[in-house]
């Protein structure tokens, strides 16, 4: 069952361009969760005898096995995340409640992940949880505005070294300083489908900004991918 927990903000990593990662140390281990689930984070004080304050949802970026430290990544795009940027400091106490959500990858067929920007955080727990012996064939299309904002690049490459069935393609809108392995432009279905063994049998998961969710979803359906095989991590 979902639980409400007080946490200490142990670390704030500023990735630049108003993108941050928070490491949160809960007062007790967080409840068991599945890779792909999310948490609610509240900035205002919470009295457990009263109603839950305003909060926003964030993918749990840390793996399910790590229950004593929770990581989330966010980009500033609205009033609440602007408050997070302005108000959160290391050592501060905040409240979270978790776990929630069904954006859980349980496919036995090949898996294709489309991640845009901080949307990668919906997949990092899954990737870190992959076991080399049992992992399905996973293709990750990971895009960001610039190579600097591929903030989980090191982490996913560590996974790829450990799990041979993980294939990664990078996309950067601003290719300045990007490595040759990175494709210029946005994450694209056309660039990914040729890399797949059986595209019509694969399961597709999309996490990123709303225009990307819409665009990738449309492109997949236009290429005869069944709507049931397309899973979108959509938040308000």
């Amino acid at each position: 069952m979902a639980q409400k927990l007080k946490c200490v903000v142990e670390q704030i990593v500023d990735h630049g361009e108003r993108v941050y990662t928070l490491a949160l140390r809960p007062e007790r281990p967080v409840p068991r969760f599945r890779a792909g689930q999310f948490l609610h984070l509240a900035l205002d004080p919470y009295d457990p005898t009263a109603f839950w304050p305003e909060s926003r949802v964030f993918s749990i970026a840390s793996p399910p096995a790590q229950r004593d430290l929770v990581r989330i990544t966010y980009a500033v795009y609205g009033r609440f995340t602007a408050r997070m940027e302005k108000e959160l400091v290391e050592g501060q106490e905040i409240w979270i409640k978790l776990p929630y959500g069904d954006f859980v990858i349980e496919s036995r067929s090949d898996v294709v992940l489309f991640a845009g920007g901080t949307g990668i955080s919906a997949f990092t727990a899954f990737l870190e949880d992959l076991a080399p012996e049992t992992a399905p064939h996973v293709t990750l299309a990971y895009g960001a505005r610039s190579s600097r904002l591929l903030i989980y690049q090191d982490a996913v490459e560590r996974c790829a070294r450990r799990v041979p069935s993980l294939d990664i393609a990078y996309f950067v809108e601003d290719a300045t300083g990007a490595s040759p392995a990175m494709q210029a432009g946005r994450v694209s279905v056309d660039a990914i489908l040729p890399r797949l063994r059986r595209p019509l049998e694969a399961s597709y998961y999309i996490s990123g900004p709303p225009p990307m969710l819409k665009g990738i979803g449309q492109d997949l359906r236009a290429r005869n991918i069944s709507p049931e095989a397309i899973h979108i991590d959509a938040w308000e």
């Binding site: 069952m1 839950w52 926003r56 776990p99 929630y100 959509a234 938040w235 308000e236």
Partner: protein
């Protein structure tokens, strides 16, 4: 389609070999009760569930606190049910609960409790899913308030805060209640053991440590008296008795003509229906009350049949 199997006399749980025979290609789940607090054979059920990929639902309503191989019943299956009706180990006046260690099943169970709602916000909370106004279900308009989307037909099965408060207070006493029930069972068992030639007395299954719900007695065919005789005598002397609930379900009007399958026969089930009853072991039975109940058993077994005399 439900499949019925016969029970053992004495522990009143399903016969293990019949369970093995009952599982067929269409079997999806095993759903059984730990009758009167006696755990059914969880070794066999676990083995069958694993072998055939079956769901296991434990009806633990009679068995709060019972253990099998040291582990609490209600924790073996995917789901378990509990009853907090007044006659049960703890009470909230009415009500009960479902327990599971699977968050997905918990969400489904909560939804059935809450009219079949798709929304899973806790009371007083909104937009837990983060997509309250941006999903599309069935032929509802896109963005229809998720709080009022019903993904299946459900019920209103919520307990009140008052019931929950009573339940919490009862939980604090549950260990004492269970111990008292066991002590009362032991007392009755010791007192009635000399009559086992005429009465089938309740025995736990192997590996089981029951948290007794009641004390079931089956009158043997050659006892020289009937269940009606002994029940009338006890009731006339103000000792309440009960039949073992519904007995053979298939003999009830509601079940006549339902699609079903029987593995073997239901001979013992009919014996239970025709010859078994139970008396209470509830924690409020103090020594004077138990003494009186036992005294009545002794008098009946000695041949007394007329009511009265001790009240």
């Amino acid at each position: 389609m439900p499949v019925f199997v016969d029970v053992n006399l004495g522990d009143y749980t399903a016969i293990a070999d019949r369970l093995r025979e009952a599982v067929g290609p269409k079997t999806r789940a095993i759903m059984m009760a730990h009758t009167m607090g006696v755990p059914f054979n969880l070794d066999v059920v676990g083995e069958l569930a694993k072998q055939h990929d079956l769901w296991v639902v434990e009806d633990n309503c009679d068995a709060l606190g019972s253990r099998y191989r040291g582990r609490l019943t209600g924790t073996f299956g995917h789901l378990a049910t509990m009853s907090f009706y007044p006659a049960h180990h703890i009470t909230m006046g009415e009500g009960g609960c479902v327990v599971t260690s699977d968050e997905r099943l918990a969400r489904i169970a909560r939804s059935y409790r809450d009219w079949g709602r798709d929304c899973y916000c806790a009371g007083g909370e909104s937009n837990t899913c983060g997509t309250r106004f941006s999903q599309q279900f069935g032929t509802l308009p896109p963005g229809y308030d998720h709080k009022y989307v019903y993904s299946h037909v459900g019920y209103n099965l919520k307990v009140t805060d008052m019931q929950a408060a009573i339940g919490c207070a009862q939980l604090a006493k549950v260990d004492g209640f269970i111990a008292a029930r066991r002590a009362n069972y032991d007392r009755l068992m010791t007192a009635l053991a000399p009559y086992e030639d005429r009465l089938v007395l309740p025995r736990p299954t192997a590996q089981a440590e029951p948290s007794w719900f009641g004390f079931v007695i089956t009158v043997r065919p050659d006892a020289g008296f009937t269940r009606a005789d002994i029940v009338r005598f006890l009731e006339a002397n103000r000792v309440e008795t009960r039949s073992l609930f519904a007995g053979n379900l298939l003999r009830h009007p509601a079940f006549q003509g339902i699609p079903h399958r029987i593995v073997g026969d239901l001979t013992n089930t009919d014996v239970v229906m025709n010859h078994a009853f139970f008396v209470g072991v509830y924690p409020g039975l103090d020594a004077p009350r138990l003494d009186r109940m036992i005294s009545l058993f002794h008098r009946f077994m000695s041949g007394e049949r007329a009511a009265g005399g001790l009240a």
